[in-house]
């Protein structure tokens, strides 16, 4: 496996205030990696360092095996795409004019604009000016711009924060398709369900430090509870554990047709985050 991103002991300070402390993680080619943390935890700072918009204070940061600082070079910038919460679109230009500009900057064929617009379901609205768009539509234009050159690595900072469920699903499908084609995705989000749906691995970032890292199912196993809850038709509910005694109880309820609903008590990623850090994700 090739490491697309390799971060070791990353430290970043702003005027003596520590934003990131001893952050280490590796992302392999083809992974979807979720960086989860509340506002101000250092997610955007990490993306800025990885994309050479900000300089690290200490540590090693490699992208595609080269120092992240080399991402300033024109040819290296073609290797990644980025979507941030601050769209950076030209509001007096139309959707199509914005994408045409970037298609020329990346020296792509004109057909790349249509492909990107189809991807975000905006081809029909291509003549609309950016100033006339909703926040969700702007987010989709920014995503189209980020993927139009088919980057090897995609940075997504809260990609579906302003989208409705239909478009969110559309974006998820598209991201999976991109990932199947080999694009590695680095995603930051507050949305735990989004992380569970999309990510192969996640890292919990809290106050500039990584508190846990792993596949969602492994984290759930490590920090979770193996009990199940049984809701009975008489309105009561019982939590039962692994073991002969509880298995017999469950068998009895099922045999006497008393069971209304059964569900696992598997924690969500949000529960695990709270368990580890003692604070909420928002």
């Amino acid at each position: 496996m090739n490491a697309v991103i390799d971060v070791q002991h990353l430290k970043k300070t702003f005027n003596k205030e520590t934003a990131l402390q001893d952050v280490s993680f590796t992302i392999q080619k083809g992974e979807i990696f979720g960086f989860l943390g509340p506002s101000g935890s250092g997610k955007t700072t990490t993306i800025k360092i990885l994309t050479a918009q900000s300089e690290k204070t200490d540590g090693d940061v490699l992208l595609f095996g080269r120092p992240a600082n080399e991402m300033k070079q024109s040819n290296n910038r073609k290797r990644f795409g980025i979507l941030t919460d601050n769209s950076g679109l030209y509001t007096r230009l139309s959707i199509e004019e914005n994408l045409l500009l970037f298609s020329n900057l990346y020296q792509l064929p004109k057909s790349s604009v249509k492909e990107a617009l189809d991807f975000v379901n905006l081809y029909g609205d291509r003549k609309k000016k950016i100033s006339q768009l909703s926040k969700g539509m702007m987010q989709r234009v920014t995503l189209a711009r980020a993927i139009m050159h088919k980057p090897e690595l995609l940075f997504l900072d809260e990609p579906t924060s302003a989208l409705d469920p239909v478009n969110t699903q559309h974006i998820y499908n598209g991201l999976r398709k991109l990932n199947e084609m080999g694009t590695t995705i680095f995603l930051t989000t507050h949305d735990m369900s989004e992380a569970e749906i999309l990510c192969d691995r996640v890292a919990f970032l809290h106050k500039g430090k990584i508190r846990a890292i792993g596949a969602p199912k492994d984290l759930k196993k490590e920090f979770g509870d193996e009990s199940i809850t049984v809701e009975l038709k008489n309105g009561t509910s019982e939590v039962i554990q692994n073991g002969k005694q509880d298995a017999e109880k469950l068998f009895h309820w099922m045999q006497s047709n008393e069971v209304s609903r059964i569900y696992t008590n598997e924690p969500t990623l949000g529960n695990i985050f709270m368990q580890i850090t003692g604070s909420d994700l928002v």
Partner: protein
């Protein structure tokens, strides 16, 4: 230096479209033309009068428009988007400057036509005007880089709008206030001195000194601009 004509052209076209739809900034183009019209109607035929309007064109069109274009890119975070694309520093700066260069050439040519000035040596004057444009673009870019918003940019550029066009006029008071002699070395004053020399018999030094002074101002301004651009664009 990594330069791509496709990228420069893309940025130039984008700036043209944005500028033509931004009436708050594009209206500034009319200022020197209106002034030129009044100077023509006043019957004033001195080089100093002609060059007040030309120097106003440089400060109000070249420097001001460039400053607003850069400040707006910063305000809307679009400069960051350009920087994250494969466009190099040179592509971005040349692309953004080229539009203002073309705009300035058109406005200055119209200003010269409206005031009714026919230069004795058009070739030397044209070269000096282009060099002056390069200087004012650098000053506009620099002011734009210091501004966070267009509003802030409009304030930061004010000293440029006052000092450079009216600097040559300040020389008239230099006998009473010797400190004002320094205004002689402004690029705007050098431009007036050159134009006045061209109207009579002139020596090579009468041409070289103003041109060298304007080149020196331009070089310093662009070096500082490049340095500030790199510094401001990395957190």
């Amino acid at each position: 230096m990594n330069i791509s004509m496709t990228r420069i052209q893309a940025i130039l076209m984008k700036d043209y479209k944005e500028f033509s739809r931004n009436y708050a900034v594009s209206v500034m183009v009319l200022m020197p033309l209106v002034m030129a019209f009044f100077i023509n109607k006043s019957g004033s035929t001195t080089i100093a009068a002609y060059f007040i309007t030309i120097n106003i064109a440089f400060s109000m069109v070249t420097a001001y428009v460039q400053c607003c274009l850069i400040a707006e890119e910063k305000e809307k975070n679009t400069l960051r988007s350009l920087m994250l694309s494969p466009a190099s520093l040179s592509d971005i700066l040349i692309g953004k400057s080229l539009f203002v260069l073309i705009l300035t050439m058109v406005v200055v040519a119209l200003t010269i036509y409206i005031v009714g000035y026919s230069p004795a040596n058009l070739f030397i004057l044209a070269i000096t005007l282009i060099l002056s444009t390069v200087f004012y673009i650098a000053i506009g870019t620099l002011c734009g880089l210091f501004a966070k918003t267009v509003m802030e940019g409009s304030l930061i550029i004010l000293p440029v709008i006052f000092i450079f066009p009216f600097g040559p006029s300040a020389l008239a008071f230099s006998s009473n206030f010797p400190i004002l002699k320094i205004a002689e070395w402004l690029p705007s004053s050098q431009l007036v001195l050159l134009a006045e020399s061209l109207e009579g018999t002139y020596t090579t030094m009468d041409v070289i000194i103003p041109i060298a002074t304007i080149i020196a101002w331009s070089l310093v301004a662009w070096i500082v601009t490049g340095f500030i651009y790199k510094k401001r664009m990395v957190d």
